[in-house]
């Protein structure tokens, strides 16, 4: 009895526990794809960390120009934060609806995500153009160069995320929710949530820690 259990268990365990620990057999494709995309997101985070470092170093070098305290409108920043946070929420619900094969709900949540992301970008672009009009463009001082690089790169990420969302919704409409498209949606939602994490760093370091 015990001998039989010892004989069968080691042979059977590797096939049964193939869940990403290397214990036997490959992990499901969606786990592998999400892991690869996760590596990309982390490399993006490393790129952002260089810009955060540049901002932290150059923050005080205003070259006689306007400082952050004079330029930033905290109410706008709070609105931007809420837009991005709620779009992250609707993005998650959309991914969940897609996983549960509910295309109508997915489309509604995707539309909400798109609207909230666009609202974020509109507020940000208005803020940027207002600053440039006041003579506080990226060429004014090292502080403003670092600011526009960091916040602008995040904005470009959001914009490209919105374009990718249109592309994905078109795929869902044309081809339906089949596994390959679900994996693309999973990657996209990882990207979108990661942008919200970067924004937490931006609003804390750039907008709130300026005292």
């Amino acid at each position: 009895m015990t001998a039989a259990a010892v004989d069968t268990a080691p042979a059977a365990v590797p096939t049964g526990l193939a869940r990403g620990r290397g214990g036997g057999g490959p992990a499901p494709k969606r786990i592998v794809v999400a892991y690869g995309f996760w590596i990309f997101i982390l490399s993006d985070m490393v790129m952002f960390s260089a810009m955060f470092a540049a901002y932290a170093v150059l923050y005080g070098n205003t070259a006689g120009g306007p400082t952050g305290a004079e330029l930033f409108n905290i109410r706008n920043v709070f609105l931007e934060t809420l837009c991005l946070l709620f779009s992250s929420y609707t993005c998650g619900l959309g991914a969940l609806s897609a996983e549960r094969r509910d295309p109508t709900r997915f489309l509604i949540f995707a539309a909400l995500t798109f609207l909230l992301g666009t609202a974020f970008l509109v507020i940000e672009v208005t803020e940027f153009s207002g600053m440039v009009e006041k003579g506080a463009g990226p060429t004014r001082s090292a502080f403003l160069s670092a600011f526009f690089t960091l916040v602008g790169t995040h904005g470009v990420h959001v914009a490209s995320g919105l374009i990718a969302l249109i592309y994905l919704v078109a795929q869902v409409v044309v081809k339906g929710l089949h596994p390959a498209i679900l994996r693309r949606l999973l990657c996209w939602s990882l990207f979108w949530h990661a942008l919200d994490i970067v924004w937490v760093g931006v609003f804390t370091l750039v907008y709130l820690l300026r005292a």
Partner: protein, 121 residues
């Protein structure tokens, strides 16, 4: 032998079916926690609710808390075997980010204090 049965699942590797740990509820809990952390950050930075010299530390703690909420509730990083590799990669990423940011700030602060300011022109 009965005790072994629940360990094995018959799924072929690569098959897409899976049981999602996420639910509408978990996203809503994550959103609520994130809103609390965000609102706390803005309130703390705009008022004297916190002892003023402690505000930067408070803001950094709140930011880390919110990032943790996002990772767990939105990105579904958990303690399950499917997350192990992602968490190891994240740990490496956090190490690099930490080295780049604190290293830059530290080195430049040293340069600033050790180099005498040269008057312009």
């Amino acid at each position: 032998m009965n005790s072994h049965e629940h360990v094995f699942d018959d799924r072929t590797p690569g098959v897409e079916e899976h049981e999602s740990t996420a639910s509408y509820l978990s996203y809503t809990v994550g959103l609520a926690l994130a809103i609390v952390a965000t609102a706390a950050s803005f309130i703390v930075s705009q008022t004297d609710l916190l002892w003023p010299p402690g505000i930067p530390v408070g803001l950094i703690v709140l930011a880390f808390a919110q990032i943790g909420v996002h990772l767990v509730f939105f990105l579904h990083l958990g303690s399950g075997p499917d997350s192990t590799n992602n968490i190891l990669a994240l740990a490496f990423g956090v190490l690099i980010v930490f080295l780049v940011i604190t290293g830059s700030v530290w080195i430049i602060a040293n340069l600033n204090t050790n180099m005498t300011a040269v008057p312009m022109q």
